[in-house]
Symmetry: C2
Subunit: 333 residues, 2 copies
């Protein structure tokens, strides 16, 4: 029986799955970041190779029998020209694993949607380190909102919130902003709350060390501080950050809505999965106007990449096939 | 007669001045960015060398007769440990020019203050690409507020405003934010408003190109878009950015104030020099509580570096010396 290969190549991890055309997962492999844009071509190629070899090995499949490969990746939703260097990175990595079938790139957001539902119409929204929403019609992404990256967009994302948290804490210590309980909490997280340091010169010593430590990180790493904003609902500063984030996320889902499209809303990413105040605000906005579909939470898009791979391979993914993908994948991990 | 050397080493330009102990400027030199942190050690060393050689050459001074050197530089206000690698970069550059006298580093914000007044007490605030305020007492920086850089601080600065402008424009085109006249203006500035492009796929084509162009810039370059926020006072989006910026700048000057310290307020940087709405908000906040000193606008800190160099060389800088520095420097440029 013929098999297809599905890969979900994310910024921090890459997951590969060999699945037969009935939707049964036969082998699963996992590795580090596999997006050539965020991890660099060399690391991405290595991650893709490791994950794919893992999946093929567990399945015991001859790689030359793989009928097609479908790769879900950020950015593939919109633009990936034929001469995009990512094509070459991926092609070389697959050939290195003995996989010589044609491959197709699909949107990571579409894979998230398909990990939550076999429906062909609906919406998906992810708010993890970044934030974006898509409207799906007839199994394709019809409209994307945000996902414009940490500097220009990703409004309400984990980075956006964590950045606002660090700015509020710096302003607090600097005397420009109100005191907030996020300040001692952040200093504690960074192991900088080492008792009473005497003031040194024209600036508090804690401020120096904090700023030094934070600038040493890659900016997107500020996303790790997002939970602090949700931890102090009684603090006006923290609440202000959360309110601004939910307002931004609400504007993003609203911009994705077409009154003619109903169907499920699939939510993913740490902000929407772990912060009920954020997911309920998004759901409330989405329900306005009478949308009746179910809301599904998904941890990641591997099962959705498999759904897309099956469709690319000619399988109609109904509820039964969808459930088989999900349960057989769960059994492998 | 003995002379001293003053250098104002900024992120985009370096200016050097040879001045005699009466305050008369004898030679002036100029070069590119001279801060080892922002321009890198090699470029900074080259800029320092070019500016210093220019000043010495115009003055016709034997460099071995220079009694002392004073260098104003960002970051020197607060911390510059003896083992800081910047010390070595500067020392080598000066020795390369034949200047073997001892050198001292001073705050660039203190130099801005001293470029506006010979007073020993008062305040200075700069809002250019970055933003910071200092309180000066007895000729030294007693307290610094903000200047924490584009990611964590510089609230209300040119970068901060320009960043908010680009985010608002991206949100407008993305359908997440309200329409604003800053959108066509920004697209025009970037030469991206090339008539009607057909929508391509799930995103507007203009958004792709805008985001691509903006991510190719160094983040601080977004400061160039700050004037757009001030250009549309009737637009609620633009006005919101300006209001938030003036609120932030007001918080920064307020945090610098000590009720016991009066004296002049020296303002610098493009936001405060060119945008009356910003400078008047800062002045209004600063006047609260009864401060009576004059407000002075200064373009840059070279004259202030000279004042600091003269003081380091033992000269008392009174109004007469101060005026001589300013007028003889103006005559040289």
């Amino acid at each position: 029986m013929s098999v297809v290969l599905a890969v979900d190549a994310g910024g921090t991890s890459t997951r590969a799955l060999v699945v037969d055309l009935s939707g049964r997962s036969l082998g699963y492999g996992r590795a580090g970041g596999g997006n050539p844009l965020s991890s660099g071509p060399a690391t991405a190629a290595e991650s893709l190779g490791t994950a794919v070899r893992g999946a093929i090995g567990q399945a015991g499949t001859d790689p030359s029998t793989i009928a097609s490969t479908t790769i879900a990746m950020a950015g593939a939703s919109t633009h990936l020209a034929a001469d995009d260097p990512r094509n070459r990175v991926i092609a070389d990595a697959l050939i290195g694993c003995g996989v010589d079938a044609a491959f197709g790139l699909r949107s990571d957001l579409l894979a998230m949607f398909c990990a939550g539902t076999p429906a062909l119409d609906g919406y998906a929204m992810v708010a993890g380190t970044g934030a974006a929403a898509v409207r799906v019609r007839a199994g394709e992404v019809e409209h994307v909102v945000d996902g414009m990256g940490w500097l220009l967009g990703d409004a309400g994302s984990g980075f956006w919130i964590g950045h606002a948290v660090t700015r509020a804490v710096v302003a607090d210590i600097d005397g420009r902003g109100p005191a907030t309980p996020m300040t001692p909490a952040l200093l504690e997280m960074l192991d900088l709350s080492s008792g009473a340091t005497p003031p040194s010169g024209p600036r508090p010593e804690a401020l120096h060390r904090l700023v030094e430590v934070l600038y040493e990180m890659r900016p997107v790493r500020l996303a790790q501080f997002a939970p602090l904003a949700f931890a102090y609902p009684a603090d006006p500063v923290a609440r202000g950050v959360v309110d601004a984030a939910t307002t931004a996320l609400t504007a993003t889902i609203n911009a994705a809505i077409d009154p003619d499209v109903d169907g499920p809303l699939v939510l993913g990413g740490s902000v929407l999965l772990r912060q009920e105040v954020a997911s309920s605000a998004v759901e409330r906005a989405w329900r306005t106007g009478g949308r009746t579909g179910p809301v599904r939470l998904v941890e990641e898009g591997t099962a959705g990449a498999a759904v897309l791979a099956l469709r690319d391979g000619g399988t109609t993914v109904d509820d039964e096939v969808f459930d088989r993908v999900a349960s057989s994948l769960a059994a492998l991990r």
